[in-house]
């Protein structure tokens, strides 16, 4: 799975815990870095996305991702510190949402439920 967050400490602890739980985890410090990873062929089962970030924030990343059919179907879990307004939620249209700060069980359950979720067929609209 791909974790996108600008907070180094968050990346470190999430990596250690998910890695320890048997997940294969790749880290990106902002939207642009994540885009580069995906362009280079990375195909994670789930993306965990922070919203407020320098260099391509959560919204920019989502717009970019949805515009690419080969990436649009990857489920995205949005992790945010401030509650999202209705408009912001509509713009992001995430597959799952996680309020910061979260404990490991909540994170693991959210990630696993997205992995276990049946994928939409390739012809379906993402």
């Amino acid at each position: 799975m791909l974790i996108i967050d600008d907070d180094e400490d968050t990346l470190e602890v999430v990596f250690e815990m998910l890695d320890g739980a048997g997940y294969e985890v790749v880290l990106a410090h902002d939207g642009r870095e994540a885009m580069e990873l995906l362009i280079n062929g990375l195909r994670p089962a789930v993306i965990m996305l922070d919203v407020m970030m320098p260099k391509a924030n959560g919204n920019t990343f989502r717009i970019w991702q949805r515009a690419r059919p080969e990436l649009a179907r990857i489920p995205v879990l949005v992790a945010t510190a401030a509650p999202l307004s209705k408009n912001a939620l509509e713009e992001l249209s995430p597959d799952g949402q996680l309020d910061k700060p979260f404990d490991f069980r909540t994170l693991k359950d959210a990630v696993q439920s997205l992995i276990d979720r049946p994928r939409p067929s390739p012809g379906a609209t993402p």
Partner: protein, 453 residues
């Protein structure tokens, strides 16, 4: 923002003043026109009365006197041919007496300046006639001497001339009164038109100014509303930024503490548990801060909601907490209660009150929180009744102030923004909020206006 509000208030005052001034000016102009017309009418009434009661009766009496003088003149003119019989003398005297009566009727009327001389002249002529006739013997047929005849003729000519002059004077007076009436009427008409014209023009001008002021007020209100919305959006964005910067670093803290909580060392575990509690409080405080900031924005969103449905959702959201805190949480509702308010606002207020009630139940042996909905005349009332320790009277006023928290070691930690947020939301919707508490237990309530049916 304050300037925009001041502008709205100033425009409101100006508009009200202009309208009042327009009304005052119109009424004043109407009164002035009416007063002018009335005073002129009084002048006309005086003139016409003078004509009716003095000048016209004078001319009538003088005219009758002249006719009689003419008859007397004919009788005297015959004296040089026909001797004067005693009966004819009586007739002549009686004719003169009748003439004198007409002249006296004229004398009884008010005099005009200069009339006194004409009166004296008429009087002298009549006295002359009497004197000439007094010398004649009334018991025999007489032929007056040419001298007497001449005196009589002169007296009659003079009397006629005096009567004519007096009639002319009275006719001239009538003419002057009539001219006065005509000019007074014209001047009254001019004044009435002038005052009414001025009144109408001033009123129109003031109304125009009031209209412009009203337009300015509408624009100022729009500006104020716009500023308010911008400010609310900015506040929300700022709070979001603050929340992000405060909460984001907590994520690794929470996760690392979680790791420490499963440490084999008990002391480490205990420290981790306490530290986690601290982090939990910080999260709660930031959430409250964010909700308080967002309350300003939500207050400007309008839509409809059903109080009953919102209350059911809120109560169901607290069911898990109620179960773990051993609280009996119930809802008493009369059924659907429509509101013209965003459901998020109602949920936020009610959620705050329920959370507050559960948090401050303390160690009360009876642990019950009841949410009661009522619909009254034009408003919906929500009561959150708890069996907690109650709110002392002295604190009831201040409990809704921002950052106010009940003192005491046993009180749970909070930022003191929950009830302030609730009040901010309720008052922005034209509602009221309060608490009633006598000893044990308290009832937090709020009332919101319901839309007209």
């Amino acid at each position: 923002m304050i300037e925009a509000r001041k502008a709205v208030a100033v425009n409101e005052r100006t508009c009200r003043r202009m309208t009042i001034a327009a009304v005052v000016v119109t009424v004043a102009a109407f009164l002035a026109a009416s007063w002018g017309a009335l005073s002129r009418l009084e002048e006309i009434r005086y003139d016409s009365r003078a004509i009716r009661t003095n000048a016209l009766p004078s001319i009538q009496s003088l005219s009758a006197a002249r006719r009689k003088l003419g008859t007397i003149g004919v009788m005297i003119a015959q004296l040089d041919r026909v001797p004067l019989m005693p009966e004819a003398l009586v007739e002549l005297r009686s004719a003169i007496a009748s003439l004198e009566a007409d002249v006296n009727a004229y004398f009884a009327l008010p005099r005009y300046p200069g009339e006194r001389e004409e009166w004296s002249s008429v009087r002298a002529c009549i006295d002359g006639l009497h004197a000439a006739l007094d010398g004649l013997d009334p018991s025999s047929v007489v032929t007056p001497s040419p001298e007497v005849q001449a005196r009589l003729a002169v007296a009659i000519d003079r009397a006629d001339a005096a009567l004519l002059a007096t009639m002319d004077r009275n006719a001239a007076e009538i003419q002057s009164f009539v001219q006065n009436i005509v000019s007074t009427r014209a001047s009254a008409l001019r004044r009435a038109l002038l005052f009414n014209g001025i009144g109408v023009l001033l009123a129109a001008l003031l109304l125009l100014m009031a209209l412009r002021s009203l337009r300015r007020q509408v624009a100022a209100e729009r500006r104020a509303q716009h500023l308010l919305e911008i400010r609310a959006t900015e506040l929300e964005a700022f709070a979001g930024r603050v929340a992000h910067d405060l909460v984001a670093p907590l994520t690794p803290t929470v996760l690392w503490l979680e790791r420490l909580r499963s440490s084999p060392d008990e002391t480490t575990r205990n420290i981790a548990v306490r530290a986690s509690r601290g982090v939990g409080r910080v999260t709660e405080l930031v959430d409250a801060l964010f909700a308080f900031a967002r309350a300003a924005r939500e207050a400007h969103e309008t839509t409809t909601s059903d109080l009953d449905q919102v209350a059911r959702e809120v109560v169901s959201g607290f069911e898990e907490l109620a179960a773990t805190s051993h609280v009996s949480l119930t809802l008493e509702s009369p059924g659907p209660v429509p509101l013209a308010i965003h459901p998020g606002i109602v949920a936020s207020v009610l959620g705050n009150l329920v959370q507050n009630a559960m948090r401050y139940l303390g160690e009360s042996p009876i642990r019950r929180v009841t949410v009661r909905l009522q619909q009254r005349n034009g408003c919906a009332r929500v009561e959150v009744v708890d069996t907690g320790p109650g709110v002392p009277l002295a604190l009831q006023e201040r409990i809704f102030d921002p950052y106010f928290r009940a003192a005491g070691r046993d009180q749970p930690l909070g930022l003191g923004l929950g009830l302030a947020t609730a009040r901010r939301l309720v008052e922005a919707q034209g509602g009221t909020i309060g608490v009633t508490s006598f000893g044990a237990g308290s009832t937090f309530w709020f009332e919101l206006p319901t839309p007209a049916a």
